[in-house]
Each structure stands twice: as structure tokens, then as C-alpha cells.
Symmetry: C3
Subunit: 372 residues, 3 copies
């Protein structure tokens, strides 16, 4: 075996946290306030809103957000709530506005930049001015074709949030890639369990035999945890060039990767709601919508290079099938972890020295949300 | 256009209320105690219990009530709970008792007036007297064929509750009309949103094109709000005689209406759980059962004159279809309002000067239930 | 009529308890802590785990328990939770382990006696010792082929819990019997209502005409209530030999019963989660899983003698059908009781002098759980 555990030894006292950390609705509510509604959140792909008027909805806890491209080509985000009497503006998950956003109830009509254009029957309300009642804004930022939003009144600068992620993966040129598949998964698990599952590969030999064959579970090389992200990379074994059932593919590697980048698969989490998996020829992004302490919706996008998509006989299913299978394996484990931790018999257990990303995640949450 | 807005101007400060008013289960519980369980509630039609022994069940929050006609022809209302061990007496929504009401568990048997007739096996319980254990009474009153109940120990006189409604609409002789259709709707909306939707027609041009063609949305003439009811009327446009798809009907107007009454449609709410819509040839009543802060069951009765029902080829579907369509349009808007108000982006918004019935409703609730 | 009410007279002041006793989730939570999670609980049949490695799952509130027969033939019970990161170990309701219990997540592997055999990747965790991390134990005991578990840290001795039940029914030799049918029922009723329904037969003439024909409802002879059980017996009427539709059967009586035992049917509750019904030729056990204040799962086992099972043309359906019908009748009454008690109209009502087992049950609960 080429790989050995060279991580520092730990002490047996490093333990999982009490059940409420994953199972208490009150703690989950505190997390939403302190983390999800304060930080930048991954919200999909720029290509989801290709033209002026194109929109998609995003749900984060009880917030519904409209992401729309305005007439000037800028992407905007608004609460999906009319400023008149609070009616939900859009029902469909995606679509296209014809120039304006009109409430179905009383026809209050907003421009695509969110400003109120027309409020019927308000002419006899003294002091009413259209400019006072724009749609409630949500901050938007983009990174290489990826959309982010923030509910914070004054979020930290997005570049500070990325904290180098953009330069690190610039060779993938994600803004040039296109979505070839999108799948939505409903988990019965706390959002943190899904991130923690992603950040150790000790379960790979048992749960993911097909993955384990291609990238040895001990090949993982973790970066020091960062304030907004966690990451590691794994080595593609000899003869393997990507993550598919046989570790090979007809697709060419992305054109600008270095040799080093072509020999690895990168596992990153942009906290708190994005996982990013970068292989030499494709990228998978995972977008989380935490719906409850024990329910999380995960949306996966598979991204590939347009030149490959244009080739005759293009078929992304080797990559889609690989990650769909891996997902199903991980989601079952996360659901079983939630079930066990929520049950009476659970008591904190000891981490190994190779689960240091999980304890980093725990510290990160406790620092922001506070103790149980 | 014949109609103009002649209402007094308002100021922009008249606003919708905070989200909890429509979305907080605690506030809803206070409403039930202060409003629904204290006032008179619409409970259906006298004809629902045509003969001695006939009964219907009504559910109000967690209260189940049996409405039954007794041997003397009087309508009685009781909690649907045996006085022995608390068993629910009736399961079927309607039916007929054969002389007595018998609990299926231990055969405690009540007369149709609610008094306990027989309690098997209680003969060796010292001090037990049948007269001490009648069914728990709920107050009943009737108005022109409409049934009302009150859970209050000592409700205000029913005539005080009606406060003139009975004389105002006496020409419809609702007690002579018969139910030709009954439909039940499940809304995902707070009960107040449904009443407020009913009391402004600013949404009519957008949501109800077929209604708007017949009764112009600016033709509404509101009465000053009353302690127990709200009401307005709309003008039937030239050439129209009722609310149907084409504004016409083969039915004759109700025989005792004045010319004035034949030229209008009347929109009234008898608070807190009845809407009344009176057209020249038919009446629709709406009965609310508030099941949760965001769930309301609405039961509609369509009432017509028996002479029309008896005519060959009688077909009420023009009226039924018209209101069913209008309902579906309004219920969708009410559900969207609930969704929007319950979501994070909601903030109070400004009322126009033509939404004064909505603010009257808000004041009415706040006076009885208190602030949030 | 042969039977008369010879029970002591009571006073009308003996009443059912306030609604919260059956309907308040907070009181239910207190019951679980004070009763179910402290006492011995019926958990099925020894024959459910016939061989080393055989296991069944049992759910009690939010506790999931694995009952497994170890290599030495002893039955063990453990919380269904891995000691590493809390993952649920087993998903299937029953099955067979091949020598060890392995967590699907990281392959922590336990022996069938619960001790930790192997914890991969823990070799660099200083101070980690396998012997410190066995599966969390749940106590197990058996009585004549019946399995019991206790979540208490230090439960009372099982013989003290049985308190004579084992000698009383030893002639049934339940360990020799085999399960011929198993049915699971979902009730919308509090667990106590099901036990109380079982402990009076005043409802039998109304609800169970087929039962009433065979064992007269006034033939019940109650024992004085005990700290851990309640019980009574009823007389088989002239010409009847068991509980079936016609009160007869092709099965022979169990071989070791006395003449006295062959003339009765025994109705016992081993508190808090077992009902036991012993007829001359078969036994039915009822196992409760209280899932919420108003939801209880009941699992019935029908037990018969292996000699009868081996006879040509053996058919247990006369006994299965009889109790299935009786169950359906009782479950409907229990559900109606829950519905009535949970509704606004409920007020405590008077017990008769023949419902003394119910008041004994109430006192028993109040003593352990405290007042509402």
C-alpha cells in the first residue's frame, strides 16, 4: 500500500458533540440566524438566468428568493414577496419575466432591478412614493459562473468570503463550463452531517468501493481549515484519469489544468451550503437548502466543457452515474447517522486522528452559534 | 368609465400588520379564545337537520359539535363527547338518530334534547343522578334558515349579534330557499386573509376578469364597519342581471326583492366565520372552520328559490360554476398571501385608500385579541 | 341471568382525569421517563431470535433497540447506535448477523455480546481502548418464552417485576408454544386508554356481541391491583371451550391446564406495555410501542401448542379471526375516546363501581408520574 497515516496522533478525548447539535430544532434555528442568514450562500449557476427576465427561485429556510437577470444584464436577488400586502410573487421554480415582475394580486409591478414601477390605486394615498417600495434586496455575487447570495444587511466582501478559492481553482474556468445534469435529493439529515461526511474518506473502503478503487482513501491531503472553507484533495491512482465507474472517460481534461491538477480530485466545502468536487474533466457542485434540523435538500449540478458537449455522441452519464451512486451511498449513511444520533442510545464518541476536518467544522459552528 | 374613486384620501402610514398576525400559532390560539369561542358562529342551514333526529357535525378548532333537531322540532347543539368517559359520540358528518343518542362504548343514552336517559351500570354509584349528566350544551340560534352556534357560556343576544342584518336582507327570504350545491375547500391561508380578500375588489380586474365584466370593481359601495359585520354592495352593469359567466340566467329574480336590490350584488361578512353573497336570483354562504394559523376549511352553500328548482330543466350550474371559479382564483391568492407573509422577506406594506375594510378588520381583531 | 354485580358500591366522586392525562404531549414525555424508560417492557418472543446472530429491532419512543442472540446462546439487547459517530447500526426489523455487528459507516465491529472487536483507524488515538466502547447495553430478561427489556440503569429484579405472574400461568408453558400469527395495529389513542379498555367488560354487550355470547360480561372476576400488573378472569359459558366465533375449536386444550383453568379466559396487563390473554387452547400477547401521546403501535402474537400446529389440516384462523375482530372493535372505541377526550367539550365523568381497574390504573400512573 502506497499510503500511510502520517497525521499527528490525537487523544481519545476529541469527541462528537451532544445530540442536540444535530437534533435540536432550537439549535438549528440559532444556526440559521448566525450562519445561513449572515454568510454568503451558494445559489446556483449564472447560466440558470441566461437572459434579461430569466429567473430562478431559491429557498433558504423560510426565505424565498427570486434571482433574476435585469435589462442591463446584471443578476439581482429579491425576496419573493410583494411590498403591498406580502403576497408571494412567483410560484414556478424558474421562468422568464416579460420585462417586469407583476404581483398577481393587485398588479403592483416592479422593474427587473427591483424598483417599483407602478402601484395601482395608490394615487390617493398621501405621501406614497414608488421609490420607497422596491422589492426587498438580497445581495448577489458571482465567482466563475457560480451565484452566491447573502441575506445579511451588510455582508463581508465576497472576495473575503472566497478567501483565495477563486484563484486556486481558476484553471477550471467554471464560468466556461455548462450544466449537463441537475439532480435534487431530499435527505433526512442535518446539514452538518452531510458536510462532515464529505470531509473524511475513512468510510470510502466500506461505502464506496468504486470510488476507493480510483482514489485511495488514505491519499487524502487536507488543507488547514479556513474561516469560510474546508478542503482536501485525493490522488487519482495509476491508470485513472477521472471519477467514473472505470476511472476513465472519453472526455478530454479541461484545457487549462496543470499536470498536477490533472492527477487529483479536489473536495472542498464553501461554508455553509456548498460542496465542490473538481475532477480533471468535470465539476460537481452541491447546493444545500436546510429545511429543518433533520431535513436538507441537496441540488447537484454536473458541469462540463462546451467543446465536449458539442462532440458527436457526447454522453455525460459516466460522470453522472458515478456521483449519483456515490451520493446515494453517502445520503444513506447521513440519514442513518441522523437516526442514530437522534435516538435515546446516542452518546458522544471518539474521533480518530484522521477526522480532524470534522472537529474543525464543529469548532467553526460552535464559535458562530455558541454552545448547546 | 362610470366609476371613480371618491373615497377619502389616506396617509401612507396605514399599513399591513406584522407577520405574526397571520402566521403565529400563539396569536391564532388567542384569536380562537377571544373571537371564535366567544362569538356566534355560522354553522350551516336549518334544512341540514330537517326532521327530529336529523343531525350534522360541525368542527371549530378542536371542538366537535352535534347539531340535532329534537322531538319537539327545536334545534339543539351539544359537544360531541359522552359525559361518561369522554368518548366521541358521532363519527359520521351527518345522519339521523333513532330517537336517542347512544354512545357506542358503554351505551350511555341521551334524549335528543341532550338530557341523559339511561346510564347502564351506574345503579351502585351512590349519589349518581341522570339529571346531573346531560350532554354539554352549545348555544343555538337561527336567522332566516341559517344556523348559528356559540361556545360562550353567556353569549350576547343573537339579535344584538345580527345588528340589523336580518331586516336588511329580509327580502331574500333565505329561509324559503333551498341548498342546490355544497362544496368544501381546504385553504392554506389564515382565516382573516380570506375575509380581507372578500372585502376589496381592487384585485378583481386582474384575478376575476369574468366578475369584473359584470360588476365593475370601482362600483363597490362600502358600509361603515359594524361591531359584528362588514359589508358592501356592487352594481350589476348594464344588461347584466346576476353573477354568472355571461351575467344572465334563466332563473327569475327572487320574488320579493325591490328594484334596487335587483340591481346589485351584496358582499357581507358576519364576523368571524361567515361570508354572504346575495345576488338577485341566488345566495352563496361561506362557512369557515379555522383549523390552524395557516389552514382554513371553507364550506359553500348555493341557495335558490324552490319554484326555480321545481321548473323543468332546472340547472344551477351557471351560478355554481361562476362562484367555484371565483373561489379558486381567490383561494390561490389567499394561499400566496399566506406564503409570502410567512416568509422571511415580508415587511408590512401600505394600504390604499380603497382597502379601508381591511384596516377595519385589523382594528376589530386587535381590539378583541390584543396586540402581537 | 347468572351473574350479578357484587362489587362494593362507590361514590359519584370517582371520576376520569383531566384531558391532559391522555392528550398533553408534556405529560406523555413525563410518562416515558417515569414509567416506560424505567420499568421492564415486553419486547416479544424468545423464538424471535432463534439462533446465534438472529436479531430483531424494537422501538420504544425514540429508542431503537437490537435484541440479538449471542454466540453463547444468551439474548442481549443494545441501543441500535454505533459508539463511534452515533450511526444507526441496523435498518431491517429483523435478520441475522454473521458473527459480528458491523457499522456500515466506518466498519466499527462489535461482537454479538456487544463488546467492540475492531475500530479501524483508531491506532493513532492515544488512550483509545476497545474495551471502553462496547455497545450501550439494555437489560434483558425472559419469562416462559417472553422477552423483556429495561432501559433503567439499575432496574428492579425481573422476578420482583413479575411478582408471581410466572407461577400463576406456568401451566400454559408459554415457552413451549409457537407463534402462529403476528399482526401490527396503529392506534390513534393514548396507551393508557388501550389498557383501560382491556380492563372492563361493561362495553362487551355493545361492542363485542360475539365475545359476550361466550364469556358473560358480568362474569369478570378482578384481582386486587398489583404494583406491576392488573388482572381478571372471565367464565367460559356453558358449552363453550375457548374464544372463537362459535366458542369451540378443533384444538385440544393445552396439556397441563387444570380443570379450573380450562373454564376461564384470563385478561392480564403486565404494566406498562403488555396485555396477555390466555384461553384454554391459545394465548394472545399484545406489545405496545407508545409513539406519541395519541399514537400507539400494538403488535399481537397468537401462540399455540406445537402438537396442534403439527396436526394435519391445522388452521389457527378461528382464534386469529376472533381476536382480530375484537381488536378492531376495541381500537375503534379507543380512537373515539382519544378524539373525544382531546376535544374542547370534554369534562371528567363518573366511573361506575365496575370500573375499579381503571381507577387503579389512574392511581398507579399518578403515583409514578405525578399530577398534571
Amino acid at each position: 500500500m502506497r499510503y500511510v497515516d502520517t497525521r499527528p496522533k490525537t487523544e481519545v478525548g476529541t469527541m462528537t458533540l451532544p445530540a442536540g447539535y444535530y437534533a435540536d430544532p432550537g439549535y438549528f434555528a440559532r444556526e440559521l440566524e448566525a450562519v445561513h442568514l449572515r454568510m454568503w450562500l451558494y445559489a446556483g449557476r449564472v447560466e440558470d438566468v441566461p437572459e434579461p427576465g430569466s429567473y430562478v427561485l431559491r429557498q433558504v429556510a423560510n426565505a424565498s428568493v427570486v434571482l433574476v437577470r435585469d435589462e442591463g444584464g446584471h443578476i439581482r436577488a429579491f425576496h419573493n414577496v410583494c411590498r403591498h400586502r406580502g403576497t408571494r410573487l412567483c410560484k414556478e421554480a424558474s421562468g422568464r419575466f416579460s420585462g417586469t415582475i407583476q404581483c398577481k394580486y393587485h398588479a403592483w409591478t416592479y422593474r427587473l432591478d427591483g424598483t417599483l414601477k407602478k402601484a395601482p390605486h395608490m394615487e390617493n394615498v398621501a405621501g406614497f412614493r414608488e421609490e420607497d417600495w422596491p422589492l426587498s434586496k438580497v445581495h448577489v455575487a458571482t465567482w466563475d459562473g457560480l451565484l452566491f447570495i447573502s441575506f445579511a444587511e451588510d455582508p463581508i466582501p465576497f472576495s473575503e468570503h472566497l478567501n483565495g478559492m477563486d484563484t486556486r481553482f481558476r484553471n477550471w474556468r467554471m464560468h466556461e463550463l455548462v450544466t449537463v445534469e441537475r439532480r435534487v435529493y431530499q435527505l433526512r439529515a442535518n446539514w452538518k452531517l452531510i458536510i462532515q461526511n464529505y470531509h473524511e474518506c475513512l468510510h470510502c473502503p466500506i461505502a464506496h468501493p468504486q470510488l476507493q478503487r480510483i482514489t485511495h482513501f488514505l491519499s487524502g491531503d487536507n488543507e488547514p481549515p479556513q474561516p469560510t472553507w474546508l478542503g482536501s484533495r485525493m490522488d487519482l491512482g495509476p491508470g485513472f484519469t477521472t471519477l467514473t465507474a472505470d476511472g476513465k472517460t472519453r472526455r478530454r481534461p479541461l484545457p487549462h489544468l496543470t499536470d498536477e491538477e490533472r492527477r487529483h480530485v479536489y473536495y472542498y466545502a464553501v461554508l455553509p451550503n456548498m460542496l465542490l468536487n473538481l475532477a480533471p474533466d468535470y465539476v460537481v457542485t452541491f447546493m444545500f437548502n436546510p429545511q429543518g434540523v433533520d431535513r436538507t435538500e441537496v441540488t447537484c449540478h454536473w458541469l462540463m466543457h462546451p467543446d465536449e458537449v458539442a462532440r458527436p455522441g457526447f454522453d455525460p452519464s459516466d460522470a453522472v452515474d458515478f456521483w449519483h451512486l456515490t451520493n446515494e451511498q453517502d445520503w444513506e449513511l447521513s440519514d442513518l447517522a441522523q437516526a442514530g444520533i437522534s435516538s435515546r442510545g446516542y452518546r458522544p464518541g471518539p474521533f480518530s486522528n484522521r477526522e480532524e476536518m470534522l472537529t474543525a467544522m464543529d469548532r467553526w459552528v460552535l464559535e458562530r452559534v455558541g454552545t448547546l
